[in-house]
Amino acid sequence: MATTVVAEDTARARSRLGDRVFSRLALSAGIAILAALAAVFIFLAIEGIPGLAKPAEFYGDASNFWGYVAPLLFGTVLAAIIALIVAVPLSWGIALVVSHYAPKRVATPIAYVIDLLAAVPSVVFGLWGISVLAPRLTPAYAWLDENAGWVPFFAGPASTTGRTILTAGIVLAIMIIPIITAISREVFAQTPRLHEEAALALGATRWEMLRLAVFPYARSGMVSAVMLGLGRALGETMAVAMVLSAGGGISFNLISSTNPASIASNIASNYKEGTPGKIQVLIATGLVLFLVTFLVNFAARWVVQRSERRLAR
């Protein structure tokens, strides 16, 4: 047994060294992420900035880069918003079923099946979107056009193939459901029993217990989950390219066949036949998307922080 608090030098050195090495490793991993991101940004900037100011013929109908990218950006954001509106409530619903509503016997298979969804390749989502989902939605779009045509979103004319931005949004939603669900259900399930029981013992119904004990505890995880889903929705390439009938300009009409493309799908569609100049333009749009995710995350963080501050009063 050691006689001094400052234990034998070797032991101390060992533990100190272990701690130093480990914390350095952790730090380097964090910095590696920053470096990777910086590298991507620099790459986009170097290859893309010349694409900002090309002669007008590089920008199709538009006369300059901003005219070219605006509808793409609009399409990206619109599709992602539709996806979030559809996916977030569904995902949280499923996550709650799995963590708090269904008995284990039912919850495990549900969770499992939803996880499978994450595995389906984009291409297959695209194929399914075209061949199964879109035709099923066509009658609904026709109905909306007839009965809700006065709402700008359903102004029509309804697409006869169903390959609209709403369909693309729904496909995106299905793609991000597993991501949002998986993380949400983990954080829901991790709520300490102690807090749940505190709520139940106050005579809370299950829903009230969720509100009192689970949601506050899980909030940061729920936000992360949504942000991950949003990221994927913004950046998804192939499924959107395959499902969306793109080529239109900015329009809030969700059910017509003339829709704005998304930035990522536009890159994928046009990269392959592109000449060097055209590719610079495409990469410049990638740079714009990058900056947009930056801003969206900034905004989300700001909102979260504000609500946390309000909570702390």
């Binding site: 879109a134 080529g247 003339t258 799908s265 046009n270 000449t275 060097p276």
Partner: protein
């Protein structure tokens, strides 16, 4: 995998065995992918499975870039090299200052295909097609269509024109046809479909699904992929011609060479307004791009062997079987053969 052992395919039926070995890498037009698969198979069989041909179907533009940068030994491209962005010059540089070889390899008719309940076939002239895709004709029973198809009972369905959403050689060839053969198409021939609106779909298979997924749809796609869908017979001279391999090959043969090209460059400007009987001018012509000399003997042998197999009767027949393309006509094939046979190391 168990099928990759070297001795498979000795009974491939190929008449000659060139005894080459090694890897040959190419990249480019996705339209050629299936045909490349057939060619690679035949070429690998000729060499007893000692050769592997890789073809990345990354798209014509990227294929050309890859070739120019030296990433691949040959490229497949739906359009010939030009100097709008200096690609021709760059390709020349890549080939040690010699003119790059461009030979036609893959010819395929582009079908104008539609899905309209109760109608199996229609005749149209270039003007009508142009106006449909321009959004000027919006109903199937429009007089312009009805006039030509007197014996067809046309419904009052709206027309949904389907075009490619991605940049594509098919679009470029199709719009080139519309621009040259009709008076009502005011857009340039381009990889990107120029008209706003209408339905857009990704890739040939996307167009096919969109056309078959809606009623009153009409689109354009590689004829081999049309399957059960109805096709439009296009007016050539005074006849209405359905898309066919022979018709496509005929047009390529009859088309004038592009101006100011080197001897080894078989780029042609397709004659969209031909009136030759049986010719079908809505065709896609895809080229192979390579160098005349390669520094490495093995690479030169492989490129030479592969390209000459491609333009050979056997190669063209294989592609026709596998991808449904139109075999090159004898004269074109002969000229191409002589060009690729001159590939050497230097």
């Amino acid at each position: 995998a168990s099928n990759e052992t070297g001795d498979t395919g000795t009974d491939s039926g190929s008449s000659e065995t060139s005894g080459l070995s090694g890897d040959l890498n190419g990249a480019g037009a996705s339209s050629q992918e299936k045909a490349q698969g057939a060619w690679a198979t035949g070429f690998q069989g000729m060499n007893d499975g000692n050769v592997t041909v890789n073809y990345d179907p990354v798209g014509s533009g990227d294929g050309r870039t890859n070739f120019i940068e030296g990433g691949v030994s040959f490229a497949g491209s739906d359009s010939y090299l030009n100097d709008d962005e200096g690609e021709l010059t760059a390709a020349k540089e890549r080939c040690n200052g010699e003119d790059p070889i461009e030979v036609p390899a893959y010819v395929s008719p582009i079908a104008v295909t539609f899905n309209l309940e109760g109608v199996d076939s229609l005749n149209m002239d270039a003007d009508t097609i142009a106006q449909i895709f321009d959004g000027k004709i919006t109903k199937w029973n429009d007089p312009a269509i009805a006039e030509i198809n007197a014996d067809v009972d046309l419904p009052d369905t709206a027309i949904t024109p389907v075009h490619r959403s991605d940049d594509s050689g098919t679009t470029k060839n199709f719009t080139d046809y519309l621009g040259k053969a009709s008076s009502s198409w005011s857009y340039e021939a381009e990889d990107a479909f120029p008209v706003k609106g209408g339905e857009a779909a990704e890739g040939t298979s996307g167009v096919i699904s969109a056309v078959s997924g809606g009623d009153g749809t009409i689109g354009y796609a590689d004829e081999s992929q049309v399957g059960d869908l109805s096709v439009v017979s296009v007016k050539v001279g005074e006849e209405y011609v359905a898309p066919s391999a022979e018709g496509a090959a005929l047009v390529v043969e009859a088309s004038p060479a592009a101006e100011g090209r080197a001897d080894v460059d078989m780029a042609v400007d397709i004659d969209r307004t031909t009136t030759e009987a049986g010719a079908y001018p809505v065709v896609l012509l895809s080229y192979l791009i390579a160098c005349q000399t390669y520094e490495d003997q093995a690479e030169a042998d492989l490129v030479k062997g592969y390209l000459s197999y491609i333009v050979s009767d056997e190669g063209q027949q294989a592609a026709s079987e596998e991808a449904g393309s139109a075999p090159l006509s004898a004269t074109v094939a002969e000229k191409a053969q002589s060009i690729v046979d001159a590939i050497s190391a230097g």
